[in-house]
């Protein structure tokens, strides 16, 4: 027979398995992750209470574990995206503009945030050089830093960093390879085949 105190201590219970995930995501301190289909194959999408926080093609980051390691915020796997969010993302990808889709850039530096916001103003079918972004944020000497900030864009495709090219007109670098960048720009009609 246990002592009374030992029996009381034995009343400890594990909470339901999903309570931590629900609490953290409800607070907005963590994200959920699921995939959405696109013409580049499935994409990992992370989202918080405030909007989309991350997007990466599965071909670049093939497993959920590697995506969770790669994503800047604490995240939990979800069975699927909410239907309305999935449809908004699909529309944004096909129209080339994020439109009313909410993006959550918390945790991104102020400089990178201003670079990404400026980049988001480039219309579909057009390109801008890195220097244009630097000037638009009143830091004309920061062209190289702009390139670095765009290279770390957590929400590519929805924030169209592929529309920023070298000043000589060549496509320049892209996180998922210059071929994908060229393909995107041809698809959007910004450059000729």
């Amino acid at each position: 027979m246990n002592s009374m105190e030992a029996q009381l201590a034995g009343l400890i219970e594990q909470p339901p398995a999903d309570l931590e995930r629900i609490t953290v995501t409800e607070a907005g301190a963590g994200d959920l992750v699921a995939t959405v289909d696109s013409r580049f194959g499935p994409l990992w999408v992370a989202w918080s209470r405030l909007g989309v926080t991350g997007l990466t093609p599965v071909f670049a980051v093939p497993t959920i574990d590697s995506f969770l390691e790669h994503h800047r915020r604490v995240s939990y796997e979800a069975p699927a995206l909410p239907r309305s969010l999935e449809s908004d993302i699909t529309d944004a990808l096909s129209s080339g503009t994020a439109g009313g889709l909410s993006l959550d850039l918390r945790g991104v530096s102020e400089f990178q945030q201003s670079v990404l916001e400026s980049c988001s103003t480039i219309p579909i079918g057009q390109v801008r050089p890195y220097g244009w972004i630097a000037k638009s944020i009143d830091q004309p000497g920061a062209t190289r830093a702009v390139g670095t900030a765009l290279g770390k864009n957590p929400i590519p495709l929805l924030i169209p960093c592929h529309r920023v090219v070298k000043s000589d007109g060549s496509v320049g670098n892209y996180a998922f390879g210059p071929e994908m960048k060229r393909d995107l720009l041809i698809h959007e009609g910004a450059i000729a085949l």
């Binding site: 609490t23 953290v24 915020r73 995240s75 918390r106």
Partner: protein
């Protein structure tokens, strides 16, 4: 990133200061099971315990917005969280509601544990609310007296007396059950 496993209080507070959201996920992972277990004994339904275990942290997260770094470093995390949780438990206890149905099975009674959680719920329900909170926080949630005093807003000596009298009543209840 993936949620980090339970960490000690100092590391959680340091992380709350440097990265509020990451620190919060560590706080939840470290302390939510204890809050849930305690709330399970202080509320009548497991749904209430889940709500308390969730709302405690949502309120804590909002409160952290108004705290500067020094205040966060000075927090005694479990005492602070239980201050919030006890208020929520009291609010739920005051709600008029139906008695728990037979489907509100206590998980402790459905596994191999020899501890009869429903019998304990019944014994604990006979204590005064102060005694019940003090006994549960000390012996189920494993809080030190100082944290219980902070959470209940009662002096440490009073908390010790609550625990002692509460345990006496529980012992008497068990003895009565044995003679039946």
């Amino acid at each position: 990133m993936k949620p980090r496993d339970a960490s000690d209080e100092t590391e959680i507070k340091r992380t709350l200061v440097s990265d509020r959201d990451l620190g919060f996920t560590m706080l939840v992972r470290r302390y939510q099971p204890g809050i849930y277990s305690g709330a399970r004994r202080l509320t009548r339904l497991h749904e209430d315990a889940e709500e308390v275990a969730q709302d405690t942290f949502l309120r804590a997260y909002r409160a952290l917005d108004g705290y500067n770094d020094t205040r966060i470093r000075d927090l005694r995390l479990r005492g602070w969280l239980w201050t919030i949780a006890l208020n929520l438990c009291r609010t739920r206890a005051a709600r008029p509601r139906q008695e728990p149905s037979g489907t509100d099975l206590d998980r402790s009674t459905t596994d191999d544990s020899p501890i009869d959680a429903q019998a304990w719920n019944s014994r604990l329900s006979r204590l005064s609310s102060d005694q019940r909170a003090a006994v549960v926080l000390r012996h189920v949630a494993d809080l030190p007296i100082r944290d219980i005093a902070e959470a209940t807003g009662r002096p440490e000596g009073t908390v010790k007396a609550d625990i002692s009298r509460g345990l006496d009543k529980l012992r008497e209840a068990m003895e009565r059950e044995e003679t039946l």
